[in-house]
């Protein structure tokens, strides 16, 4: 029987309503207003988990985000949520929680044997024990360690919940709605500033909710209610409970996560997101994050029943729950005294208050004395004893005497740590305050104003005063006329004093834990120092102290204090480790919010999507685009369909969607001069009505992109880019014009989405197109190869060029995007008697490889025009981007890999893009590497697999054989090197 129970009255719970929940399958009851932690305590459950390394039974230590022990797994199936702090879970009907890290049961855990073997599991255990041989890591060590050590297990199913994201802007963000934060929000709200007040707990008030003290002569609750009511009534104040600010980023940006519906049973959440990720941009932030109490390392301090004094106070006021009937309090500061007194007043029989420091008389001490509580100064608790839970403590008094005090709970307060994490995220190093025995933020923390306990001013009266005064000053700085209200009046003011006490030595040999969640003991830190890990950063990593999911909120500073004692140096001198976001664990789903599935990669469809689907297209993703890949007829696979499509184009006619190509319109007197500088080949002779292929370089002489330049009239052009580089080329053009060549009189705009169209390719393409196109005349004489014109299809304007990617007579035609589907349909209808086929990217790719046209795989940012056999295109007469560096020695090296064609020697063999080229029979090692295969296709013309490749000295090696090796698949295929053009090398079909 444990002493944990619900008191008959008090607390902010709805006793009229019962909520049924289960813990490890056992049905239990709680009330609205409970957390899982308070409901467990109310049901007498004091063992809530097993420890990480030694599998020791553990109980509740804290009340909120500081809780190190009570990690549970919630929810069934895909909603399984491991490593959740029971203190942060609001109870709801049907909640299903399971303890972790125990097998077969929480009460009897086989792995607890680790406790007996614990001398083998000391600091640096991982580094020492599993050093050798390396193969054993994956085969053995990792599996064993993962089974023995570890917390909850995640679900392997996709997250069924959805998450939202919101941006918020404010004049003042107040983080923390305790006394300081509430006061600050009230002042700023009244001044008319746009205020956002955020608090991680479900109800605002912070530690004001955990005190019996009176404000302005009446219960705190009344002041709190009035304040919250006023804040809610102010339209310029937004209150965000259940919201944790987890990171402070540049320029005052704060990231927060709001637990929107975690507290509701899944079936009642409706359309609500589970959580919402907030990016909050405020002109200034008031940090009122309070402080977290820390424990004291002493033997047996991990027994269930050892709890922070502040947590006992919180459970008492919030839930009317106590963790024991006969607690002993061990405290260095007023927190323990106040807790003892409030528990006494609630009918709990406090056995003793033990303080390592000197006697300080104040109203609380007097009241405790009058209530008959034993008070010991200059004394310490050396050990907590008990089997499975606290049953007594060993006290060492001021004259060296030792005595045992029977009790069922040990409440600890080793002092308070300001919650300064958000200041440290911004790089402001905390400093050690000897008087407070705590790290506090420095005076200057940029745009952040730290108030109340977060700045080390722990007394309630100071929290209220800071919130008020600092908010008034900040409002005035931001231009709001803030009035200074009168400070609420308080009684029983007790100034904060404390005694340094991080660990208590004892001879029992029992483990004294510094970090409960990662099972790090005082002895581990001593060992780390003996082995040379003397800096806090090294000792932390060697022992894993402060590296668990709680990030050492209650224990980090204890570890620094213990380390300082071992090293016999002041804590301030050894410093603290860094604090990094997130402050508390954040669901990856919340960070991803809408950016998952289609929200992560939105689908781009061309205006021809549906009409191609109607004609049987199979689509696939290229970047964000969904493009038609092939158009199978009954019984055809992709290879058969695209082969048929290629053959049809080479004999009659086919059409394909070319809409995704980038299209940029340039106009102005200097448009041609601009184009001349953008491309490496000459454009000064390009005349209206003509198009020209163009190659764009980067300044380093490498090819950046290729496309065609269409000249409609003097000073009026449209250029096309590759699909992949459409956005990059646009930015490139904007950059060179805005930054370098602003004197050029040219205007440009992306028209990629305005014009949609098709390529019409094949010997009968002209015949087909002319049926629809009223203007221009497409005859070979009027509209030869590389002619362009603005024309008409009925009443619709169009742009036509006679250009070819396939090597056949071909046209590209674009119409305003809304007319494209109609054009496609009409081409299909008119082309039917000619045997028209719709074709997709596979056929397009095959034909361009057969023709040796380069594309993305060849334009990989490492190839020059010369590498691609396009050297002759480069103009030597004009300056252009890349002209100066293209002729560097290394780029002219004849041994550079250059573009070649490849055919498999054995027609039955396949090729794989990415295969490396080595001499025949040579080992597939780097020193034999002579290049690689860039693009492959099955060539209907050749009747076998062909490829484009980059091969060292390739131009001189046509006719030779090399091996294409793909070591990952253990493949080796012999290929013959040839010119990179397999069809109509003279271009007769092209020109018609």
């Amino acid at each position: 029987m444990t002493g944990a129970r619900r008191l008959p009255e008090g607390g902010r719970i709805d006793r009229g309503t019962s909520l049924a929940f289960t813990f490890d399958g056992k049905p239990l009851q709680g009330h609205p207003g409970d957390t899982l932690a308070s409901a467990l305590l109310a049901n007498g459950v004091t063992v809530v988990g097993r420890s990480f390394k030694y599998h020791r039974p553990r109980g509740l230590v804290g009340f909120g985000v500081e809780e190190p022990n009570a990690l549970v797994t919630l929810g069934p199936g895909a909603r399984t949520l491991a490593n959740t702090q029971a203190t942060m879970v609001e109870l709801h009907q049907g909640l299903d929680a399971r303890s972790q890290n125990r097998w077969p049961s929480l009460a009897f855990d086989v792995m607890a044997i680790n406790g007996w073997a614990s001398r083998f599991l000391a600091a640096g255990f991982y580094y020492k024990t599993f050093m050798w041989p390396p193969e054993a890591w994956t085969a053995f060590y990792e599996k064993v360690i993962r089974r023995a050590a570890g917390l909850g297990r995640a679900s392997h199913e996709p997250d069924p919940d959805h998450y939202a994201k919101a941006h918020a802007f404010a004049d003042i963000l107040v983080v923390g709605a305790g006394p300081a934060g509430l006061m600050a929000a009230l002042v700023a709200g009244r001044a008319g500033a746009r205020v956002i007040l955020v608090d991680e707990m479900p109800a605002l008030g912070g530690r004001l909710r955990h005190t019996a003290r009176a404000i302005d002569g009446s219960a705190t609750t009344l002041w709190l209610e009035a304040t919250l009511q006023e804040l809610e009534s102010l339209p310029n104040v937004r209150l965000l409970p259940r919201t944790s600010v987890f990171g402070a980023y540049d320029h005052g940006i704060m990231a927060a996560v709001e637990r929107v519906s975690d507290h509701l049973p899944a079936e009642t959440r409706g359309a609500l997101p589970r959580q919402r990720y907030w990016q909050i941009q405020a002109k200034a932030t008031i940090l009122a994050t309070g402080a977290i109490e820390r424990g004291i390392a002493l033997a047996g301090n991990d027994l269930p029943g050892v709890m922070l004094a502040s947590a006992a106070r919180a459970y008492l006021h919030e839930h009317a729950v106590v963790g024991g009937q006969r607690p002993v309090v061990f405290t260095t500061n007023p927190s323990g005294y106040v807790t003892a007194l409030e528990l006494m007043r609630a009918g709990v029989d406090v056995q003793a208050v033990v303080d390592p420091g000197p006697r300080v008389d104040n109203e609380t001490v007097v009241a405790l004395h009058e209530a008959g509580v034993q008070l010991y100064w200059h004394s310490t608790i050396e050990q907590a004893k008990g089997r499975g839970r606290v049953q007594g403590v060993v006290m060492a008094d001021d004259v060296g005497g030792r005595r045992e005090i029977a009790c069922d709970q040990l409440l600890l307060s080793g002092g308070w740590n300001p919650t300064l994490h958000l200041t440290a995220h911004q790089g402001f190093r905390p400093h050690w305050d000897t008087k407070l025995q705590a790290f506090v933020p420095p005076a200057d923390v940029g745009d952040i104003t730290v108030v109340g306990a977060a700045s080390g001013r722990f007394e309630l009266e100071n929290c209220l005063a800071d919130g008020l005064n600092d908010a008034v000053a900040l409002c005035r700085k931001l231009g709001f006329s803030a009035k200074t209200p009168t400070l609420p009046k308080l009684q029983e003011n007790v100034p904060y004093t404390t005694t340094a006490c991080f660990a208590v030595e004892n001879a029992s040999g029992g483990k004294a834990f510094v970090d409960l969640q990662n099972d790090v003991t005082v002895a581990d830190l001593e060992l780390a120092v003996r082995e040379g890990y003397k800096s806090v950063e090294h000792a932390k990593r060697y022992t894993t102290h402060g590296m668990a999911t709680d990030q050492g909120k209650t224990t980090g500073v204890v570890g620094h204090g213990v380390l300082a004692e071992i090293l016999k140096r002041p804590v301030g001198e050894i410093g603290t480790t860094g604090y990094r976001p997130p402050y508390t664990a954040v669901a990856i789903g919340a960070l991803a919010h809408h950016h998952r599935g289609q929200g992560f990669a939105p689908v781009r469809r061309t205006p021809l999507h549906d009409v191609q689907a109607k004609h049987g297209a199979v689509f696939f993703e290229t970047g964000l685009w969904h493009r038609a890949r092939y158009f199978p007829e009954a019984g055809e696979d992709m290879a058969a369909a695209s082969r048929r499509e290629v053959e049809a184009i080479r004999s009659t006619v086919g059409i394909a969607d070319t809409t995704p190509l980038g299209k940029i319109e340039l106009m102005g007197p200097d448009a041609q001069a601009f184009i001349e500088r953008l491309y490496c080949n000459g454009f000064s002779t390009l005349k209206p009505g003509r198009a020209r292929y163009g190659l764009m370089l980067r300044e380093d002489g490498m090819v950046m992109d290729d496309g065609t330049v269409w000249c409609f009239a003097e000073g009026h052009f449209m250029i096309t880019t590759t699909t992949a580089n459409a956005a990059a080329v646009m930015s490139h053009i904007e950059f060179y014009h805005q930054y370098y060549w602003r004197e050029l009189d040219v205007a440009y705009a992306s028209v990629s989405e305005q014009w949609a169209g098709v390529a019409i390719a094949g010997p009968r393409s002209r015949e087909l197109l002319q049926k629809l196109v009223d203007k221009p005349d497409l005859s070979d004489t009027a509209f030869p190869f590389m002619a362009v014109a603005e024309g008409r299809v009925g009443k619709v304007v169009c742009r036509i060029a006679r250009i070819s990617f396939s090597g056949e007579r071909a046209f590209e035609i674009y119409v305003p995007a809304g007319y494209a589907a109609d054009l496609y349909d009409r081409l299909m209808a008119e082309g039917a008697p000619l045997g028209i086929v719709p074709y997709g990217l596979e056929a397009m790719g095959t034909m361009r490889i057969e023709k040796g046209h380069v594309a993305g795989p060849e334009l990989d940012g490492r190839t020059t025009p010369a590498d691609l056999g396009l050297d002759r295109m480069q103009s030597r007469k004009k300056p252009h981007i890349g002209h100066a560096l293209r002729d560097r020695e290394g780029l002219l090296d004849p041994a550079r890999p250059v573009l070649v064609g490849l055919k498999v020697v054995n027609a039955k063999h396949r090729l794989r893009a990415g295969a490396h080229l080595v001499p025949r029979g040579a080992e597939p090692i780097q020193s034999n590497d002579q290049g690689h295969v860039t693009s492959i296709a099955f060539s209907p013309s050749e009747g076998r697999y062909i490829a484009l490749a980059l091969l060292a000295r390739g131009t001189d090696r046509h006719g030779q054989e090399v091996d294409a090796v793909f070591p990952l698949k253990k493949e080796r295929v012999t290929v013959e090197v040839c010119a990179p053009c397999f069809v109509d090398p003279k271009g007769a079909r092209l020109r018609g």
């Binding site: 941006h167 540049d250 320029h251 300044e699 904007e734 950059f735 805005q738 930054y739 602003r742």
Partner: protein, 87 residues
């Protein structure tokens, strides 16, 4: 991070792309290769203020010169690239 675009006002840095530090002045067309190599490849990497080229790609598409402190990410100045000197 926030960047104040001269046209659009204070905006989140995710609306912008960064090209890198402002290069030294672009050499004359007939400058020796060495000058071009410096221009393309050599950049200082100071601890402190740097000038960088950013484009407001998801806004007005203007190219900007942003003076940013690499220690604190403080943005001291944002200018239009089209007005910049020393290019």
């Amino acid at each position: 991070m926030r960047i104040t675009c001269p046209y659009c006002g204070s905006r989140g840095s995710e609306e912008f792309t960064c090209l890198g530090n402002t290069p030294p002045a672009r050499p004359a067309d007939d400058a020796p290769v060495a000058a071009w190599v410096d221009f393309v490849y050599l950049r200082d990497n100071p601890r402190g203020p740097v000038t960088e080229l950013w484009q407001h790609v998801q806004g007005c598409r203007t190219w900007l010169i942003v003076t940013r402190d690499t220690r604190t990410h403080t943005v001291a100045k944002v200018e239009l690239a089209s007005r910049a000197t020393g290019r």
